[in-house]
Amino acid sequence: MPEINLRQMKKDQSGTISAIKVGGELGLRMREMGLVAGTRITIQGRAPLNDPVALRVMGGILTLRNNEADHITVFVEDKV
């Protein structure tokens, strides 16, 4: 399973978070929403201007701005 940055993930692609390298409030906001290493995510889609991105996480959908998504790396699953 290749490890890539969340920003590079394509629509409908799934993967498992490998690491989130950010502290402070942004880190907290991500973690409390279930974005921790080991969580499986799927890209739900992107906004009309390509940013933010919508993710399917646990039972819900979250949106992240691209520059926030940059802190997250993901082991992507091979199938699209």
Binding site: G27, G34, L35, P52, M58, G60
Partner: protein
């Protein structure tokens, strides 16, 4: 069981003293007294729905002092037990970064509710339990309301509540908050748990952290550091999570101990970063989720369908947030909202208008002439009419927003617009407040400012609050239309559109300016949730709409009433001296005696069809009347204000009479036209009969196209009306922001208007 309303009012009045009152109650009175329960949980978990289902109409909205988050208190009786229930703001965790979190945590530790009902969205169990782990660590008596089991079932999620209860050590009641199913058992359990001792629970955070936590606990216990408020372990964990509020409180309590703790945290952080390449907060979160997963895995939750299956809501999103269709649909929805608000409210607004008109004419005929009558008509009835006349409009607007909000679409609008608004230092959720305030021309900044509540990031929210008043609200539109009609009649529609465009450009640039100066700082990180689409419930819509409308009526009603009486007094006093009055009276006499008694009688009759001579007499008399009222105005306090301002205002091309209107416009922008009317000797001019005022202005030597543009710019951007200012103070949590808004906007508008005027007269 029904408590008379008076009792509820008493509770409202003493709200500020609730902590004291609660404690007394608990100390001095037996348990059969009212039980205090609090509802807490993630945003959108259904707290408000459960709250409404339980309390019905026996509730009131409060506001935490100093901050903007509403809390609601309600009462109900369960099996002869009086229960007082508080609806807390939704939070995802108890680490205090945002207002919602601070409010929730402070409420729990200060008010110590006898039991906390943690409401959990069963269709998103894992994420929701994250907050629960923190309640367990805090140790408050807890009951879990496992809500939305209907949704979970539809999604093929089966949950075993008994098992969950055993593993968490907390009662769990499956419910459907919408229908009230299961709530009886829930409240039984809550009553059973109430009044228990606070019992913090330990969750293990791995070797390194547990060791550090033990050290910190030893110190905290020894120094009795914040132990009156938080359990020692909770304090230690929040220190490790770099909780701002906790760090601040610690410094206030005992800076020596606080320093040692902070030092300890730095040590541990460094060590963890070196050995594990992770922050302590991240490790804590990992372990919390680990704890949750270990529970769920023991047969608590089973998934019957494939997890990749698209839910209905996701299918809708495929269309509504589609890159091409999404924006098109959004424009249609926003336009529809505008249509709904302005066309549906037209009829009730006109009813209210004619009602106040009728009231005015009744007062006119029934009351004896004099200052009381004048005050009642010009001050009270006109003033109140101006505000209450807006109520239907506001109500439809709020209904529309409630539908968008409750259905989940508003979050999608924010999602789609975020990229654009971020350029100006705002957030996607700022769109709605801008549109409500008049983004499509005609709206109102009061609900606009209130609508900023959907923004959860404080700086972006403040920047939005301060710039939405730049939009062309429904009260500015008639003024703008009047001036455009008078001076640019060739191209009305184009100019109207142009000025709407200018308002957007200016508002967004002003927001950018604020975010680069007074509200400087990086964008607040905001991981937003897109809730699934849901059908709004009628009860939910009704309550949402009414709550907000009522706040508007209350605020606007009281404030505007005071202001319009004040304005009336300023324009009426001091009166002309008796000699000057007598002078005008004499002029009227002179003209009257010059004609025959028959014509005099004819001219003072009510009839419109009169002879030529009688008509001339009428005109002459009314000319004198107008001159008198202009003189009176010049002599009044308002006139003096206008004259005093004239030396400065001429820089932008405004003479004293315009000044009065602009000052009056601070009370309510509607006042501008009526005041201009009075000031330019037109008598009482109504907004709809403003053609003649327009003509009057075009012929006035003090007015021309350049002055008109300068005035338009000034009116669009100067101080928001008083009601908006009050609202800003309330929503921003500080009067300072209102004063800032008044002065910043006025100075800004004046500079802009001056630039327009000075350049305009030079290039002709």
């Amino acid at each position: 069981m029904r408590r008379p309303p008076a009792v509820m009012v008493a509770v409202v009045v003493h709200r500020q003293h609730v902590p004291l009152k609660n404690k007394q109650k608990r100390d001095n009175q037996p348990m059969t007294q009212t039980i205090h329960m609090a509802l807490a949980g993630n945003p959108n978990a259904g707290k408000t729905t459960l709250f409404n289902t339980l309390t019905g109409s026996r509730q009131h909205v409060g506001n935490y002092p100093g901050i903007t988050v509403d809390y609601k208190e309600g009462f109900f009786t369960h099996k002869n037990q009086e229960i007082n229930l508080t609806d807390l703001p939704g939070t995802y965790s108890l680490t205090a970064y945002s207002v919602e979190e601070v409010v929730t945590r402070d409420y729990l530790v200060n008010e110590k509710p006898q039991v906390v009902i943690n409401i959990i969205d069963a269709s998103n169990l894992e994420r929701n339990l994250y907050l629960t782990t923190q309640f367990l660590e805090l140790g408050c008596p807890l009951v879990i309301a496992l809500n939305m089991i209907d949704v979970a079932k539809d999604r093929g999620i089966a949950i075993n509540p008994e098992k969950l209860a055993v593993l968490l050590g907390v009662p769990v009641a499956p419910i459907i908050a919408r229908s009230g199913k299961g709530t009886d058992i829930l409240i039984d359990q809550a009553v059973g748990q109430s009044g228990q001792q606070w019992q913090p629970r330990d969750i293990s955070y791995g070797e390194d952290l547990d060791a550090a936590i033990m050290d910190m606990i030893a110190l905290i216990t020894e120094e009795k550091f914040l132990t009156g408020i938080y359990p020692p372990r909770f304090t230690a964990i929040k220190y490790l999570e770099h909780d701002d509020q906790m760090l601040k409180k610690g410094q206030q309590e005992n800076s020596l101990t606080a320093d040692i703790l902070e030092e300890k945290v730095t040590q541990v952080s460094d060590h963890l970063l070196k050995t594990m390449d992770a922050y302590p907060e991240a490790i804590i979160a990992d372990h919390r989720y680990g704890f949750i997963k270990s529970i769920l895995r023991q047969g608590v939750q089973t998934q019957n369908f494939d997890t990749d299956r698209l839910y209905t809501s996701d299918k809708i999103d495929k269309v509504l947030t589609n890159r091409l269709l999404g924006p098109v649909f959004m424009c249609l929805v926003l336009f529809g909202l505008y249509q709904l608000t302005f066309s549906w409210s037209e009829i009730p607004v006109s009813w209210l208008e004619s009602f106040f008109g009728w009231l005015g004419s009744q007062a006119e005929t029934l009351l004896p002439d004099g200052p009381v009558k004048s005050m009642l008509i010009s001050g009270v009835i006109h003033g109140m009419g101006g505000v209450l006349g807006f109520v239907p409009l506001i109500m439809f607007m709020f209904l529309g927003i409630a539908i968008l909000e409750d259905s989940g679409y508003l979050a999608r609008v924010a999602f789609m617009m975020d990229r654009i608004f971020r350029i100006f230092g705002l957030h996607g959720s700022s769109v709605m407040p801008f549109i409500i305030s008049g983004g499509i021309a005609g709206g109102c900044a009061v609900p606009g400012v209130m609508a900023t509540r959907t923004l959860r990031s404080p700086k972006e929210r403040l920047a939005t609050i301060l710039t939405v008043p730049f939009m062309n609200c429904g009260a500015k539109v008639p003024v703008i239309a009047l001036l455009i009609g008078a001076f640019f009649s060739e191209n009305k529609a184009m100019y109207m559109f142009l000025f709407t465009l200018i308002s957007w450009v200016v508002a967004l640039l002003a927001a950018k300016f604020l975010r680069l100066t007074v509200l400087k700082g990086p964008a607040t990180p905001f991981v937003m949730e897109l809730p699934p689409y849901r059908f709004p419930t009628l009860q939910g819509l009704a309550i949402h709409t009414w709550e907000r409308t009522w706040q508007y009526i209350k605020k606007a009603g009281t404030v505007i009433l005071g202001i319009s009486i004040l304005l009336w007094a300023m324009m009426s006093y001091p009166e002309l001296s008796a000699a000057r009055k007598a002078d005008f009276e004499q002029q009227r006499q002179l003209i009257s005696v010059a004609v025959s008694p028959a014509i005099l009688a004819e001219s003072s009759s009510k009839s419109d069809a009169v002879s030529e001579e009688a008509l001339t007499l009428r005109q002459k008399i009314s000319l004198i009347n107008r001159q008198e009222s202009e003189q009176a105005l010049r002599h009044s306090l308002a006139g003096k204000v206008g004259l005093t301002l004239e030396p400065i205002s001429t820089l932008a091309g405004f003479e004293w009479r315009t000044n009065i209107a602009l000052v009056g416009g601070f009370a309510a922008k509607e006042v501008i036209i009526s005041t201009l009317g009075t000031a330019y000797s037109m008598g009482d001019v109504k907004a709809d009969a403003s053609d003649s005022l327009g003509q009057r202005l075009t012929t006035d030597p003090n007015w021309n196209k350049v002055v008109a543009v300068s005035a338009l710019i000034f009116i669009m951007f100067y101080a928001p009306c008083f009601v908006t200012v009050v609202c800003i103070a309330k929503e921003a949590g500080h009067w300072g922001w209102s004063l800032f808004s008044i002065s910043f906007n006025t100075i800004f508008a004046f500079l802009l208007a001056t630039a327009v005027y000075q350049i305009g007269i030079r290039i002709g």
